[in-house]
Subunit: 493 residues, 2 copies
Amino acid sequence: MEDSSLNFLRKTFELLNDGGVFDTKEQCDAEKSLVDFRHPHELKQLILFSLTDNIDTQHDDDEIEKLCRDVIKFSVKTNNRNCHNQLFGGLDFYGLAGEWMTSALNTGAYTFEMAPAFTLIEEAVIQKSLQLFGLDDGDGILCPGGSSAIMYGINLARYAKFPSSKLEGNPQGLVMFTSEDAHYSMIKGASFLGIGMQNLIAIKTNEFGQMNVDDLDMKINDAIKRNLKPFLVNATCGTTVLGAFDDLNKIADVCKKYNLWLHVDACLGGSAILSRKRRHLLSGSDRANSISWNPHKTMGVPLQCSIFMVYRKGILHECNSSSANYLFQQDKFYETAYDTGDKSLSCGRKVDAFKFWLMFKKHGERGFEKLIDNAFDMSLYFVDQIKNRDGFEVIFQPQYTNICFFYIPKFMQKKQERDEKFWECISKLAVYVKERMMKNGNLMIGYSPLSSKNLGNFFRMVVTCQPPATRESMDFVLEQIEKIAEDFEFYDK
Amino acid sequence: MEDSSLNFLRKTFELLNDGGVFDTKEQCDAEKSLVDFRHPHELKQLILFSLTDNIDTQHDDDEIEKLCRDVIKFSVKTNNRNCHNQLFGGLDFYGLAGEWMTSALNTGAYTFEMAPAFTLIEEAVIQKSLQLFGLDDGDGILCPGGSSAIMYGINLARYAKFPSSKLEGNPQGLVMFTSEDAHYSMIKGASFLGIGMQNLIAIKTNEFGQMNVDDLDMKINDAIKRNLKPFLVNATCGTTVLGAFDDLNKIADVCKKYNLWLHVDACLGGSAILSRKRRHLLSGSDRANSISWNPHKTMGVPLQCSIFMVYRKGILHECNSSSANYLFQQDKFYETAYDTGDKSLSCGRKVDAFKFWLMFKKHGERGFEKLIDNAFDMSLYFVDQIKNRDGFEVIFQPQYTNICFFYIPKFMQKKQERDEKFWECISKLAVYVKERMMKNGNLMIGYSPLSSKNLGNFFRMVVTCQPPATRESMDFVLEQIEKIAEDFEFYDK
């Protein structure tokens, strides 16, 4: 049995390759090449998902192979060049090789004895990240996703201002601040960390989706007057929908004025730090107390790869340690400072650093820069094309590589009045186009409303590093939308 | 470049195979076959970990291959049959194939549109788990590790008793209860969720490491008298060091009496549910409000695979949702109940269900049962051998597959008096043996003190399902300890 199972593992690459998972160029526009969409009830007819009836059933390798081929067939090929649906997309094959090695070596990143090479690799990735963002004397940890990284930031901020909270729990009156366009993990964090969603105070954004710093100042001031306890401002570099960058220097000034912790959520936009032309977007990051950055977005590092950074050494351990003495024994024969686990909120933490480290070794900083600059350049090309085509309009000039736009179908382009019904139609068109795209199976882009700007549905198209976008792949998106919208008929309800 | 990178990926299997990562039988006892240990400063001489100097440096595929071979060489081969160091260990190759496919398909488990097959697979894994533990009408979610799963439990318990806490934050006076031998994530959770470490009340354990239910009752009663707000009892099935199982039925009675949420931390011991002979250990699990279970422990599912279960539908969503409308649009063309992401505290959640599902399809419940029964049988064999060999003593008759024992070296076996110096020597021996094992590189078992039982260091040996333990592999552990201990010299300090 052992040989047979190892043979099955050996076949994994070919199963994926046969299933088109690694295709990045040829046939990427063909129907169903990105997704062969089925509704849940349809998919349940095609694959026997249930596990509840097979107490005695065991499948042989041929049956297991068939199941795998089906799962691959009906999964989204996120590495397809027309996948622009989420803030991640595309795969770096060196990164994937790193991930495969990581999972085969199957260990937890908590002690040096269990993860010697990986511990030093994580240290190297953190050092490099700190250097890039200007927190050279800081510390960091890889954690399972951006939401987790942001919650690490909230936790440290609370501990820094109220060290007794670790032992005694939250003091009453904690409040924190973030822009109304920030990621929803701030909301979830407010609830999860016992602070309460209503104590996360939303700051207005300007017309470009950036935090209004005057509003921030006013609301902090107001909270202090109400005897509340402000402790954190979260600034966003690359908001989820619009890709907007808050002005870190201005926000840092306000944080200094009120002695508040500045967390910079650069989960999305942090990758701009690797481009000499674009890193100005993150200017002021060296004044942050903590930063979250997801190289699994934009850069094609396989999910999950989230880096949490903090400006000073020691505090991660002080804040998070519980000193479990079955794991972090102090009488070990090696230098136990390399046991990083007690800095973490997890115990058995998956190794997420190696894949990124390997990509770094392969591409170097300049290689990443080239990929990132291409993503930016192609986004600008996309915006230029929008401006030159009838019916397309960008909502904002994008600051990052997500582009928000809407399309006015031909039959409405001459209609002058943009009344409620007009916008209702535009909003419904997005849903219609999305459905048709999914069913054609060769293109995915997202759509979203935006309550802070009082906007109904518009398209959000995301350009990532891998596979490198081309003019042709950008044109394809616009052509498809035009074509599908031809069939759209809007009925009043 | 694309072809070359795909070729590199194709080679991953061979790199790992050459490095001995998949060896489970031959040569497993050979020196360095499990780990080629180097101290951090030594390892840094052998591999160039740093990324800070190579802005322009890029490595070609041969150099990248060399780096990978070195990382593999100096990593612990956790799949080696003599790796008994942590609560996980061993790899199921079907599970690993599932993990490789998951990472190649690189998607997030939040919306059906991005993860159609994986969404239904997660649903099937959760359904099966709920059925096994007797929470048939419940709900669940896979989350990044056991600590995370336990914190989901604390969060739901708080919300169930104090629904306004989501919006308003923690009420003052929250207290929760767990045994003094429970996993440290309860402590970290108390701090992280803003409850405070001192408000996690430790309940005494009996001589077998099980929660003293009378002490629990008394301490809840006492808390109520002090006007505190008890909301949760955490019971443990398989404590971290001793592998003890709390009596769920008795604890459920107390929870009923005081109307408290019962979370069952079955991260370690939950796998016993798959064995008809052993599932009695979890008797009463159907009375839990929530359960955490890590199939990545014991069963050889690649890290991470943690399942959180809750007894009733709806509450996960009620408690955790933030209704982000760029991701969980309600006007989608498919049934949005399949968008599971808003039940989660993460946003881009790694898919952890597929690997376990594939193993289930391959082995069936009976296949798992065989593997688990073998782990139990070999643990009992190990204990029998201990009883028959001079100098070895078990600390407790194990309830699960971790065995805690100590060894009295030959030169001390005749000494009758077990005074402070005797125990100091035994404690230091564990450190010495561990160092020598690591340097021989063919065996790893853990050691630990246990403050709740006033014990210095003893060995904790963990038997997992993969690769299946044999009498020979059990004997090897005892022989090695005897042999290494021969060289141990104890000097007074």
